[in-house]
Symmetry: D2
Subunit: 147 residues, 4 copies
């Protein structure tokens, strides 16, 4: 039997929970995960070969249109989290990031999906994924080894 | 023809966008809406007759298990937003808040759903909605006038 | 005996501590006061007759050059704080805001000073307080009644 | 001539500016530096040999009593900042951290001082630096090489 291996982009990023990000329950405040996910996708872009900052300088903004997150277990102060970021579908006018966050005990604590769209910041109009970015995505579109 | 009017809880809260909450696009950063929604549901509890602070002091925590948000239009610096908060289903072990946020031009800019669960903070165990809170919800369970 | 009454600008603003702003000590995280002070001075400008947003739209930015704060007592979750904001010296290239924050028990919990400078955002050059703003400050430059 | 070399503790920590931490001026929002400084002193404790989390678990809290910061130049989105943290005076009931932050061009952009005090969290009473922490500070009290 043959099972097709799916191509995608997959990167990981590790970050440590800051004191100011936790709440009186000693959990990471539920609103602060959005910033963790932003950091993780910015590092994905850097891994592909172009920083998000450079994309913005070229006139493309990436506002978020939709965000879903499931909190399976709390993240605690000072924990080193490992964030797995995936692009599983080639972008058009939208680009979708899937996430899984693991704690130090290798437990999955969070699943999330963030949908962004490409905006021409000068014209203030929705556009498609720019060619230079699509090329970088194509170059890195592989069957992930470690999944 | 008869159309049944749905009973629910519905409150509104207004808040102004802070400078530190906006990003280089001059939009409210996508992660900061979670705090707006928290403020709105805390004010809903206060309207029902018991502050969230009081609920915590009685040993009940309300961690978030799921959060979904659609960003229809950006919220801008200094705008006064109007947040509509709804409980449409009586709580069990979970309590679900639905939200709609409107800008100053009365445009709907955001739709969101936040699911929380009741946690006995001493036993660290999931529990059902405490009786004193359920009573307040029952007392306020009406067909909303203004929808 | 004669004691000269000092003229100044003095406004007050009230805001409620949000859950996400508190930390595992159940205190407002020390970094979050900066945003409270920003909100208070933005409301001072609005009281004078021009929003900070309008000042920015006229090409003036007000970056912070210095910030000092003493934490006398902690601010707690859900407390309604009263922030007193003062301009005691007429602005030149700098504008200095003094602050006192009181909790619900009328205890002073914080003293702070924030120094900002006027920046011509197009030329990216330091400038002096614009005439339209100085006029509003002059108009409101009085001996405060309630001190 | 002899110039006495001062002993102290000196550590460095690098962190990257996040998108959500910047404001419409594309600068790091002035309130967000407090969290950077917290991260830097937490890493100093870890370098000494005990995490801040462990100190809290042993019943000692370290609330901030005073905080001063000068913003010499703005920090920009995506910059990798280098934070130098110093303890120049052995702690008593207070512990004072001095900071200098440098940008990628090795320019000093910020100077800051944060004063914290030792609080026995069970008794809710001010106390002196615990012996186990003082020992770690003594062990690392040296003339810094790289200054």
């Amino acid at each position: 039997m043959y099972k097709k291996k799916l191509k995608m982009i997959h990167t990981t990023h590790r970050l440590r929970v800051r004191y100011g990000e936790t709440d009186p329950m000693k959990y990471v405040y539920y609103g602060n995960y959005a910033e963790y996910l932003e950091v993780a996708r910015v590092e994905l872009f850097r891994t592909l070969g172009m920083s998000y900052n450079e994309i913005e300088k070229r006139g493309i903004w990436l506002p978020v249109s939709e965000y879903k997150i499931k909190y399976l277990k709390p993240a605690l102060y000072d924990e080193m989290l490992e964030i797995h970021t995936f692009i599983k579908k080639k972008p058009g006018v939208r680009i979708i990031f899937d996430y899984e966050i693991f704690n130090e005990s290798k437990q999955k604590i969070t699943e999330a999906t963030v949908t962004l769209y490409f905006l021409d910041s000068l014209k203030n109009k929705i556009t498609t994924c720019p060619e230079y970015l699509m090329q970088l995505i194509e170059n890195n579109w592989v069957v992930p080894e470690n999944l």
